[in-house]
Amino acid sequence: MSSGISSWADAADDVPGTVVTSNADGTKTVVSYRNNEGKLEKITQIIKEVKVTEKVHPLVAQRRKWIKYGKERNTPPGPDTRTTQLGEKIELKLGTAWKEQEKEEEALRAQEAANIVSDQRIKCRSCGGAHFTSKCPYKDTLGPATPAEAQGASGIPEDDGANGPGKYVPRHMRRDANGNLPPKDMSRDDACTLKVTQLNSIVDETMLRSELFAKYAPLARVTVVRNKETGESRGIAYVTFATESLAERALEELNGKGYYSLILRLEWSKKKKT
């Protein structure tokens, strides 16, 4: 959990998380996703750490030698991908007519993007050609290479099923970048979490914290599920209480009560049932 935006509650419609793979040649492959005007885009970056020499103020040089502390204690030198990533390229065009320029460029970019999409849409898994795998002319000679290889390499038995191709794997059960399964107890303890539905869309986290659930403080976590693009509340919130009994009290006292002209519905966050 490194950023404020990809919080657990909107994970449902969130873009997939960033995956970092270390390559044999010392480079890293960073695969991240972003939501560009409703279209999901996958960004693949190959990143190399390079050593550069710079001329700096002696004080700065001195500070460069400081030992890292706090959460960074004992981490290797250089930026850590968990907290530091290179962003997408941005152009700052200064001028009085920047609005017009921007518009033109946007149109151009949209067109380019459309071209990319049409190029990339179909890709054969066997030969990489622009056709479906099943229609591959080299189907018999090459075979569907990648999945088999991957499985063989990591030595995971077939019946595991978790990473089988084409099968949906919930995010929290996916392998991490190194192919390890997540520890079983990693899934969030939702014993103290309530799901609040039928919330008025004007209600935000602050209102929940300081008005509705103020009596059941302290609240570990309050998250309103929002539309990723518009920021509009979807009328659902997850509230994590300090103890289960507090949560239970809130459930009993508030379920079915009116709040901002809607009748609240509170229930245990789904995971408790299973």
Binding site: T44, P58, R64, I116
Partner: protein, 716 residues
């Protein structure tokens, strides 16, 4: 404890001052005008010789007894006599106040015989209103004529520019349209100008602002105050097409104040008490007629507006009531032929927007209105044309399985199209028929155009026979993201067969897979914008319906059916659009009344080329100032058209100069600001002190470098 002891005990506890007697006081209170309301003063009675007085008294007693009981005997009627003759007035006592009221209501202003009209007034009223009146006649002072200047001065602008009012935050300003450049203020923008909205009269002469107390009219070059129309809590305003009358509506019924001072300031007479709808004479500023709201509209949240519709020249106006139409003549505002026009079940009506040249009317312009009535158990739905003032029904069309009708008059009154939304027998599917009344032809033939789907919008091209519809393909899919609307362009096609010329409407262009929902023709036709205005979407498409290209010029210049989409402009957040009166510019804006996203306006050329974009905080409305009809004759216009090249050269030159001046102004402004800043900074020139001159050191650092990057779209 005995009863007496108990009473004594109670009395001791009770303090007589603490007891509330108000209920008893109220019950036995003596009314101020005790008995006086039973008396009525009757004026206008015949002056009769004393000998005839008893006969007169008897006649009157009999007359009043029809509706009210007159007190028996001499106490009932007192008729003063002077010099052997009655004085023409008498006092009547009725049994009670209500009966007195009834008598006044029935007989006030009514004729007793051919020569005598009776005037009945309550005695209490006479007392109330005459004490203030001076017996001596004082010549009323006629206020000096105050000139309001030339009210149409904006039309004399040398460059022929148009004005617009812009409403943002609480401010309204009137500006000259300067195309690309910042609009030039015609008057200093006024803060708190209106409490609701601002409105121009239909010909642009006046600007109106709405206030809790009523409406304020502004005009002249400096927009000074011209008149105040007192109408408490007024909400809605409308005008007759020729600016003669204004109609206002307030949710509060008119109250007639009691005190004489307030009464003097109140423009309404006692007959207006409780009314909500007022028609004003714009030239005098006085109310011409007031109406109560029809009972079926009382308490209605959404008020149909306008409630009063006008004939094209302000000669007649009409109001729709349940099962009837009330048509009034101006300026008297009396009912036409003193009666309502009964129309069972009338849903809607419309005046022809122009004088109609009916076949056989020898070139005279006639008044025509259209209305429709829905299906009932034993009656088909009907659309009819009625001639006014004869009230003769000119043509009726019967329709079946009708869900809804919308009447669209062509602006010259030559055609009237009824968009009929029909349902299949099962009621499941909807489709639209268009019924065209060819009003100027003999016997008014009606052409029917059956569409396969539902037309959600219809618009005639001004001064033309072409029209556009937006149809909605209902394929059962309700996903709002999928565009299902089509824009259809129609034109009449003339065929000659056996020397009989017939015209039929033909679809000549179609644009499908659209979200569009709004059609706005340029006021002079030919160009049209079709737009999508929804919460999540905004798009304007500019069309030229007489596009000239090689193909059409080859055909000999006839290009009435060559539509070209000139440009598509996205404008998310857009809430409204409006053409300027000349049809050269289109303003589109995002209004704070609808939402607070990206408020501001954009100005386009008719070709779709954006001239200007200005985000303005809390922008509310962009109001073009309308122009009156052109005074040029068609011959004059022809000459202008012939010499258009010379005119346009002049305007081009002006434009160039204007543009140059604006850039120069901007550059000079920057230069001035830069000089000012440098002068300001010069004061601090020597104060900058610290200099860090330390030898730099070389360090080694780890940096990440992106070697390769690619972006792919992921299918979801």
């Amino acid at each position: 404890m005995s009863e007496q002891e108990l009473l004594a005990e109670v009395e001791r506890d009770l303090n007589i001052d603490d007891i509330d007697f108000s209920d008893l006081e109220e019950q036995y209170a003596v009314e101020k005008n005790f008995g006086l309301e039973n008396y009525v003063v009757v004026d206008g009675a015949p002056v009769a010789p004393e000998s005839k007085a008893p006969v007169l008294e008897k006649v009157l007693r009999k007359l009043f007894s029809k509706v009210a009981q007159v007190v028996e005997g001499d106490d009932g009627i007192y008729m003063p006599v002077e010099g052997g003759k009655t004085k023409g007035y008498l006092f009547v006592q009725f049994k009670n106040g209500e009966q007195a009221e009834a008598a006044i209501k029935n007989f006030n202003g009514k004729k007793l015989d051919a020569n005598h009209k009776l005037y009945l007034n309550k005695l209490s009223d006479i007392g109330k209103y005459t004490t203030q009146v001076n017996d001596e006649f004082v010549e009323p002072e006629i206020a000096d004529f105050k000139s309001h200047g030339y009210l149409k001065s904006w039309l004399q602008d040398e460059q022929g520019r148009d004005q617009m009012a812009m409403h943002f935050s609480e401010t309204v300003g009137v500006f000259w349209n300067k195309k690309k450049n910042e609009p030039e203020a015609a008057i200093e923008p006024r803060k708190g100008f209106t409490s609701k909205y601002a409105k121009f009269s239909p010909r642009g002469t006046y600007l109106f602002s709405i206030h809790p107390q009523g409406i304020q009219c502004w005009g002249g070059e400096d927009f000074h105050s011209i008149h105040k129309f007192v109408h408490n809590q007024v909400r809605l305003v409308d005008f007759s097409p020729n600016e003669k009358y204004m109609v206002t509506l307030s949710p509060l019924p008119i109250e007639i104040p009691d005190s004489p001072e307030e009464l003097a300031r109140c423009p309404f007479g006692p007959e207006s008490k409780g009314h909500k709808l007022v028609i004003w004479d714009l030239t005098t500023g006085e109310p011409a007629r007031t109406f109560a709201l029809p009972p079926h509209l009382e308490g209605q949240k959404e008020m149909p507006w306008p409630l009063v519709k006008w004939s094209y020249d302000d000669k007649y106006c009409a109001r729709q009531g349940p099962d009837a139409l009330a048509i009034y003549e101006t300026p008297s505002f009396q009912l036409l032929d003193k009666q309502l026009v009964k129309i069972e079940g009338i849903v809607d009506f419309d005046w022809a927007p122009s004088g109609v040249h009916l076949n056989g009317s020898k070139g005279e312009s006639e008044y025509v209105l259209s209305y429709w009535t829905p299906e009932s158990s034993n009656q088909t739905a009907r659309v009819a044309l009625m001639h006014i003032p004869s009230k003769k029904v000119l043509r009726t069309v019967n329709l079946f399985q009708v869900s809804d009708c919308k009447m669209h008059w062509q602006d010259e009154g030559r055609f009237m199209c009824v968009k009929v939304d029909r349902h299949s027998k099962s009621g499941k599917t909807l489709f639209t028929n268009l019924e065209f009344f060819k009003v100027t032809e003999k016997d008014i033939p009606v052409e029917k155009l059956e569409l396969k789907d539902v037309a959600i919008n219809f618009a005639w091209e001004p001064k033309s026979e072409r029209f556009i519809t937006i149809s909605n393909l209902d394929n059962g899919n309700t996903n709002p993201a999928i565009p299902r609307n089509a824009i259809n362009f129609y034109a009449p096609e003339t065929t000659t067969k056996n020397n009989i010329v017939t015209t039929k409407y033909k679809l000549f262009a179609e644009f499908t897979d659209k979200h569009s929902n709004t059609i706005l023709w340029a006021p002079k036709g030919r160009f049209v914008v079709v737009a999508t205005i929804t919460k999540s979407n905004g798009e304007i498409e500019f069309f030229d319906c007489n596009y000239e290209d090689d193909k059409t010029t080859k055909k000999g210049g006839k290009n009435d059916t060559n539509v070209k989409l000139l440009r598509t402009e996205k404008y998310p957040g857009m809430t409204n659009m409006s053409w300027d009166p000349s049809g050269r510019f289109l303003a589109a804006w995002s209004s704070n009344w609808m939402h607070s996203i990206d408020n501001g306006y954009r100005l386009f050329e008719f070709t779709g080329n954006m001239l200007r974009e200005e985000p303005i905080d809390q922008f509310k409305e962009f109001i073009w100032r309308p122009r009156p009809a052109s005074l040029l004759s068609s011959a004059d216009k022809k000459t202008v058209r012939k010499n258009i090249k010379e005119y346009s050269a002049q305007f081009d030159e002006n434009d160039a100069m204007e543009a140059d001046a604006a850039t120069r102004e901007a550059i000079l402004n920057r230069k001035r600001k830069l000089e000012e800043w440098r002068a300001y900074r010069a004061h601090f020139a020597n104060k900058n002190t610290k200099e860090n001159n330390v030898e730099a050191e070389v360090i080694e650092e780890i940096k990440e470098v992106i070697i390769e990057e690619k972006v792919e779209a992921v299918e979801q």
